[in-house]
């Protein structure tokens, strides 16, 4: 089956440090989406990025589809960045709207 592997599983940063989250997937993906889950559970879409590089504020998403990998870069981390980051992959032939989620990276930013 389709696999989505995220690394690291968890990460502790000092405020101001940068973070690089990785996402590797097993088959040719038609779409990649990054989500941030608040500690309370709400899931927020950060990027929809099937290929290339996108920026929003301190966040950068890079997807290299033919190498089956994506990354999320967080620069100058803040305590409010703490939470869980999920990479989710859509594959050709999957059920409509079906995203295969990775296990997530739990980020803790300490002041």
């Amino acid at each position: 089956g389709q696999q989505v592997q995220q690394s690291p599983a968890s990460l502790v940063l000092q405020e101001g440090e940068n973070a690089e989250l990785q996402c590797n997937f097993s088959s040719t993906a038609t779409r990649l989406q990054w989500f941030y889950q608040h500690p309370g559970g709400r899931l927020v879409s950060l990027f929809y990025n099937p290929s290339g590089t996108k920026h929003t504020g301190r966040l950068t998403s890079t997807t290299v589809t033919n190498e089956r990998r994506g990354s999320l870069h967080i620069s100058s981390s803040q305590t409010t960045d703490s939470g869980t980051y999920f990479c989710a992959i859509g594959y050709r032939g999957s059920a409509l709207g079906r995203l295969h989620f990775g296990a997530g990276t739990q980020l803790i930013v300490i002041p």
Binding site: R42, L43, G97, R98, L99
Partner: protein, 115 residues
């Protein structure tokens, strides 16, 4: 602007009791709708999707059912809860067409505890 509302926010239910969770989407006509489930501390898994009123497709069998009685409403239910149903249930929507058609947007979720 589109808004997605899920209810209830949280539920504590007994094993064997019935369950009904709801989701409404405002500001978007005929969206694609989805139910996802997240075990505590785990990842998310799609349960159902619907592209139109009255039509629901099951993706994963978890002894749950879903219905779409109105264009803007999606219901998840079961007549008999199991312990394994505990977790976090998320409703999501996406556009039917357009450049962002494959982006999923999630509601705030319902946390279910089955005792």
């Amino acid at each position: 602007a589109q808004t997605i509302h899920q209810w209830p926010v949280a539920e504590i239910k007994a094993v064997g009791s019935p369950l009904s969770l709801g989701c409404t989407i405002k500001g978007k006509s005929s969206p694609n709708l989805y139910w996802y489930w997240q075990a505590t501390g785990g990842t998310l898994q799609q349960l159902f999707y619907s592209i139109t009123v009255g039509q629901v497709e099951s993706v994963v069998q978890l002894n749950l059912s879903a219905s779409r009685p109105k264009d803007d409403q999606f219901i998840l239910s079961t007549e008999k809860l199991l312990l394994s149903h505990s977790g976090f249930y998320l409703c999501a929507w996406s556009l039917v067409w357009g450049p962002s058609a494959e982006t999923l947007y999630f509601g705030s979720g319902t946390r279910l505890t089955v005792l």
